[in-house]
């Protein structure tokens, strides 16, 4: 079971803190709104992802457990 980043697009106001705290997985588009890849957050970045989730001033970012084992680290 992995975790993926999910963004509530209606709540998101483009504050951009998430991209500052988690540049490995989140970058901003030309208007300051986050772009993420849909994959599982690598274990090494889960802590950083959690910090980004906690930093979002409008609670638009969350880490969701995914049922699919795809992308799970086997190392």
């Amino acid at each position: 079971m992995g975790e993926t980043l999910q963004i509530d697009r209606i709540r998101c106001d483009g504050h951009g803190l998430c991209a500052e705290l988690l540049p490995e997985l989140i970058r901003l588009d030309d208007w300051g709104y986050p772009m993420t890849n849909a994959g599982t957050v690598p274990p090494s970045l889960v802590e950083h992802a959690r910090r980004a989730v906690d930093a979002c001033p409008v609670l638009a970012l969350r880490l969701a457990r995914t049922a699919s084992p795809v992308g799970r680290s086997v190392a």
Partner: protein, 405 residues
């Protein structure tokens, strides 16, 4: 014709019953099985299998579900849903009644575009004729004008809260919809076809269609044809046959818009023999969508046509999600500058980049559909876009004839 009345005006209950006989009383399980076996795909645009959708609601319902018959039809180039409701209201009601029985619903809402006056009047009259069948369970809700009003979470949101803007999903309407109850949101043409399949069986529907395609459906043909309008076709009929059904082309045509504003542009010569069928079209990266076939006159500039459509789609954003609000507006502005042959130095490059960045970044799929259409335009009108970036136009400058509501 199964879906289009021979006479003008709405078909009466008596004529409807004489033509089709009474509504069959199949229990839920066998009825859903018939629909699944028929292969019927939703006709609102997304083409989701109808039987599977009914099953998903039935599994969550304990008798208190809701059926929302979706006749919002906000697509500017589509007329088929309003024509169907205006001409064969009882067939739509049949489908909604069957759906209510199959999914265990005690409320039926007919969600009808507020500007579709003839459709609303026909349905209202037909519902009065069916008062005994309906026992007060059905009513009409006027859907506000707007491209996204018919999106299923927006429809549910409007009924619940008077706000026809999409909501964050999940939960999807089949899980938690009108009044928090499992809700089947189904396009009115899908319901009408379900009512025919319930009477005649899945083999009847599977027996229709050309080549490998199965079934029938409504399409709206417009643009450079002699008689624009709604036509019933067997799926698998070609783009050329759609033009012929509309009285033939009335001039040279370069491109065709297939599936509506959430569909895509295609080269008309390349796709003249294309079967109008969800599966064949998907295999070619196209979409049947809600069945729009719009022929763009050859003398109309594809960049100009694209600018009008993108401007319209940007204006129809529900203005909730940043990427949609700002992204579509920026795309529309740049495309308009290109159309006017006065672009900024990197406008073309930017719309190419932006068109790859908006997919999946809204609560609903409005931005996804809009950029998919733009990407098809960038392919089909590639030479035109390149010329416009160089402040030239390859076609005679003439305003686009793409109708925008």
């Amino acid at each position: 014709m199964e879906l289009i009345p021979v006479a003008s005006g709405a078909e009466s209950l008596a004529a409807h019953r004489q033509r089709l006989g009474p509504l069959p009383t199949l229990p839920s399980g066998p009825l859903i099985a018939e629909l699944e076996a028929s292969g019927l795909l939703g006709r609102g645009g997304a083409g989701f299998p109808v039987g599977r959708k009914w099953r998903a609601v039935a599994e969550r319902s304990s008798g208190g579900a809701v059926v929302l018959a979706n006749g919002a039809e906000g697509e500017p180039l589509s007329l088929k849903d309003r024509s169907l409701m205006a001409g064969r209201p009882h067939l739509v009601i049949d489908g909604a009644l069957l759906a209510a029985r199959a999914v265990g619903a005690d409320d039926i809402i007919f969600y009808v575009g507020i500007e579709h006056r003839a459709a609303e009047a026909a349905l209202r009259h037909a519902l009065a004729e069916r008062a005994a069948d309906l026992r007060g369970r059905a009513h009409i809700v006027a859907a506000p004008v707007g491209y996204v009003s018919g999106e299923e979470s927006a429809a549910v949101h409007f009924v619940n809260a008077g706000d026809a803007r999409p909501t964050t999903t999940p939960p999807r309407p089949f899980e938690r919809g009108v009044g928090g109850r499992p809700t089947l949101v189904q396009n009115v043409e899908s319901l009408a076809l379900a009512a025919l399949i319930a009477r005649r069986g899945h083999a009847w529907y599977q027996g229709l269609g050309r080549g490998r395609a199965r079934g029938i459906g409504l399409i709206t043909v417009s643009g450079a044809v002699n008689h624009a309008g709604v036509h019933e076709v067997e799926f698998g009929s070609t783009v050329g046959e759609a033009a012929a059904a509309a009285g033939g082309l009335n001039g040279d045509v370069g491109a065709v818009l297939l599936g509506g504003y959430f569909g895509g542009w295609a080269d008309v010569d390349e796709q003249w023999g294309l079967p109008l069928d969800a599966h064949s079209m998907r295999a070619r990266g196209l979409a049947l969508g809600c069945g729009v076939v719009h022929f763009l006159p050859a003398q109309t500039c594809g960049v100009e046509a694209s600018a009008r459509v993108m401007t319209y789609l940007a204006s129809q954003s529900a203005r909730q999600c940043g990427p949609c609000v700002f992204g579509l507006a920026a795309i529309a502005d740049a495309t308009r500058r290109l159309a006017a042959q006065s672009p900024q130095t990197d406008d073309l490059e930017r719309i190419v980049r932006w068109s790859g960045q908006l997919t999946g970044r809204g609560a609903c799929r409005h931005p996804d559909g809009a950029v998919a259409l733009l990407q098809s335009a960038l392919q089909v009108f590639a030479d035109d876009f390149a010329a416009h970036q160089r402040r030239r136009c390859l076609t005679i400058a003439e305003p686009a004839r793409v109708a925008v509501a």
